[in-house]
């Protein structure tokens, strides 16, 4: 223990400038980090806040760089590469040396970061004690960043070489991903932001495990060559996991087929918008991009229960020509909203390689869409009255909301903040066509505005700030009349309903569209 403290004290004394820089940056984040979710007041403060938001945006990468500097400099104080270092012929015990470095990271990276998050949570009105498990888990996710950085430092002689190594890895990854996307080899070109928890957790686990292995190997035996191989296995594993896309492999398991149509959460039917049973595809990409044809398929949804909603996650398309030729795509993510009873049109977007599309173009084909969907059902409902501007209200099970003044007199928007991530919630309130005072006099009944907040994805990952304030988009916020386009008004006292939705089930359904003609849109001269 004495040796650990002895080395730790030496490092703290030696690296005081780096430590001070990192702590000052964290201190700045504590001081101004709240502007990201703070409601806007006067136009003057809005301008000031936007400058502060810019500074907060800068602070995050700066803090990251300061951590890299701390990690690398601390490890290079007793560099593990080379055979001329002073310390290697002194009675250092490798476990204690490694423990001293970990203590250094704990004291000057983990602890300040943890305290910063506690303070930010408390300032946002959330109880740090309640969120303690999430705070601690976030430190584990932080390790998936810090340990590979430390691993990189253990196989290099100085900070410059560590930085070059990391830059090299980032550039190589970027080149591989970009070239893969351009050529269509390796990574599937598919849109969508479908949650991939398996891949995400697997990558974190690989980073943690290999990062630890590199560090232990270097401190124990200073075997730089095998350590390099282990370290480079991290980006390689990242590429492999991303290209294998384990979540897509598991879709059939995660989304079982519905046993009967009556038990299905939704029924699909093709909407023949053109009237001649044809679908027009648009070519994307170019000679390098591995041409793809994007086809939009309008689909009507019916049968969604009143207390449920449906989210289309992934789609797989199969084409069958009259001559028996058959082609099936992989699962493709869908960027689509949430469908309740009243929101009954879904536009599926599929991508077909250009050469495949060409084989089916012009003739009648049978198209089958396999749809992986999530059914969510309504849970707790909380109703509040819209408070006065800048008066905060805590919505149980949701977050802390505040009507925020816009620059236009009497105009407001609802701004809410959440710890870590918003719960998946349906929000509805009432807009008024006139400013609040006039609306009150004229007994304007207003119009409902609604929207969804949050995501069913509960995948956790590292978060720099524990407080988020996503923009809440409510429908009908703008008013169209004959002359102009204007804003509607959100007024104090208006009812606001927050309905929490939870995942009920995930299923796979299919839609067959017989005898459809596929065409490619031609560019007009």
């Amino acid at each position: 223990m004495n040796q650990i403290v002895h080395i730790f004290k030496k490092d703290a004394r030696h690296l005081w400038i780096e430590i001070a820089i990192s702590l000052v940056l964290i201190g700045c984040m504590v001081a101004i980090g709240h502007v990201v979710w703070m409601p806007q007041g006067s136009p003057f403060s809005a301008r000031r806040d936007s400058i502060l938001r810019g500074i907060v945006g800068l602070l995050m990468p700066l803090i990251g760089i300061s951590w890299l500097l701390l990690v690398a400099r601390a490890i290079h104080s007793e560099a593990l590469v080379g055979d001329r270092q002073f310390w290697i012929t002194r009675p250092y015990e490798w476990k204690k040396l490694m423990a001293a470095k970990l203590l250094f990271f704990a004291a000057f990276i983990y602890l300040p970061f943890f305290l910063m998050q506690v303070i930010l949570l408390a300032r946002a009105g959330f109880s740090p004690a309640h969120w303690l498990p999430a705070l601690l888990l976030n430190l584990v996710f932080l390790s998936a960043i810090i340990l590979p950085l430390a691993g990189a430092a253990t196989v290099t002689r100085n900070f410059g070489r560590t930085a070059v190594l990391l830059l090299g890895v980032v550039v190589c990854l970027a080149l591989i991903v970009v070239s893969s996307a351009l050529t269509g080899i390796g990574f599937e070109l598919s849109p969508g932001t479908v949650p991939t928890p398996q891949a995400s957790y697997l990558i974190d686990a690989v980073e943690l495990a290999l990062g630890c292995a590199v560090i232990v190997l270097q401190y124990r035996a200073r075997r730089t060559r095998p350590a390099w191989i282990l370290l480079l296995a991290i980006p390689a594993a990242f590429l492999v996991i991303e290209s294998i896309a384990p979540d897509r492999l598991l879709i059939d398991h995660k989304y079982p087929l519905t046993t009967n149509s009556s038990g299905a959460p939704v029924q699909f039917s093709f909407v023949d918008q053109s009237g001649d049973r044809s679908l027009v595809g648009h070519e994307i990409g170019g000679p390098i991009l591995g041409k793809q044809i994007s086809v939009k398929i309008p689909v009507h949804l019916s049968g969604v229960a009143s207390d449920s909603a449906v989210i289309i996650d992934e789609v797989k398309v199969s084409l069958e020509a009259a001559n028996g030729e058959h082609w099936t795509s992989g699962w493709q993510g869908q960027q689509d909203g949430v469908h309740r009873q009243e929101n009954d049109l879904w536009t599926g977007v599929i991508f077909v390689p250009s050469e495949v599309f060409g084989k089916y173009e012009g003739s009648a084909v049978n198209m089958r869409l396999d749809v992986a969907l999530t059914e969510v059902s309504a849970g707790s409902v909380t109703q509040i009255e819209m408070p006065n501007p800048l008066n905060e209200i805590s919505v149980p099970g949701f977050g802390i909301c505040v009507p925020e003044r816009l620059e236009m007199p009497d105009a407001m928007m609802l701004s809410c903040r959440f710890a870590w991530q918003p719960p998946f919630t349906y929000l509805s309130t009432r807009w008024f066509s006139e400013p609040c005072a006039a609306a009150k006099r004229s007994s304007d009944p207003g119009i409902e505005g609604d929207g969804w907040v949050g995501s069913v994805d509960t995948t956790k990952g590292w978060a720099f700030s524990p407080v988020v304030a996503p923009y809440i988009q409510l429908s009908n916020s703008t008013l169209f009349d004959r002359r102009s386009l204007g804003l509607r008004f959100l007024c104090p006292g208006a009812p606001a309903t927050f309905t929490h939705y939870e995942v009920a089930r995930r299923v796979q359904e299919s839609l067959t569209i017989p005898s459809i003609h596929l065409w490619t849109a031609r560019a007009e001269n």
Partner: protein, 313 residues
Amino acid sequence: MSFAIRMENLSKEFGRTVAVDGINLDVAEGAIYALVGPNGSGKTTTIKMLMNILPPSSGRAQVLGVDSRSFCGKDFARVGYVSENQEMPEWMTVGALMEYCRGFYPQWDAQLADQLVRQMDLTLDRKLKHLSRGMRMKAAFASSLAYRPSLIVLDEPFTGLDPLVRDELIEGLLERAPEATIFISSHDLAEIESFASHVGFLEQGRLLFAEEMAVLSDRFREVTVTLNGAAKLPENLPAGWLQPQAADCVVRFVHSQFAGQETQREIAAVFLGVRDVIFDAMTLRAIFLAVAKSSRARRAEPAAETNVGRSAA
């Protein structure tokens, strides 16, 4: 007899290059052992294997009874290691270095540390990066001797230092000699000769000889033979005669197995008409040069013969 260092067939290869080739060497406790040899002969590699900085390719070594491959951590509390090209924590002051090192050695002798600092004229508040090479080496010495190590390992410690600094270092070192074994590699043969008790000579990774300094001095003689007539070197001279040269009526060579009367009889048997024979004692430097040059000449001979053979063909 107990040994501080034992090497058995110790070898190190870097790819196809053999840096150290099967060294067998024992260093008795209490000895001041000098490992000498030309540049690239494998001295530093040998020391790095002893200190477990490099793993041997084959063979084994024991340092203070511990296998060199597992020599680590606490074992270094008994060893003082100083190397000419050691990277020191340059940001530290001399005082901070001494204080920092103190934390690693339970047997640290604060009084001795003060004495070493005074003796070596070190300024405690000067940063190592601001010190001259000599002063940095003195700081390294002080920080390696203050805990009274039982084995002091020095790799070319005097290279590039002025005579005054060398003298101060040797003085500090010799004060520790009664309680420690010293293993030193050096080019500075004149200095080594003044205090080494044993010497080992490395050439191209091989140990050509290893013995007590006194025996070595007794064994080597520069021999000048004056003949009655013109001197001509016979074809098959004894193997122990190094660098033979003949001019007019004088033959000169280095005898590496000098044995008094017996050597005189040997010379008389080789040369006819010996008028006079003079045996001069040799310095370590002279012995080093004679052995190194004759070793190189021997290595060059087969190559030359091969070339001649090729030309004839």
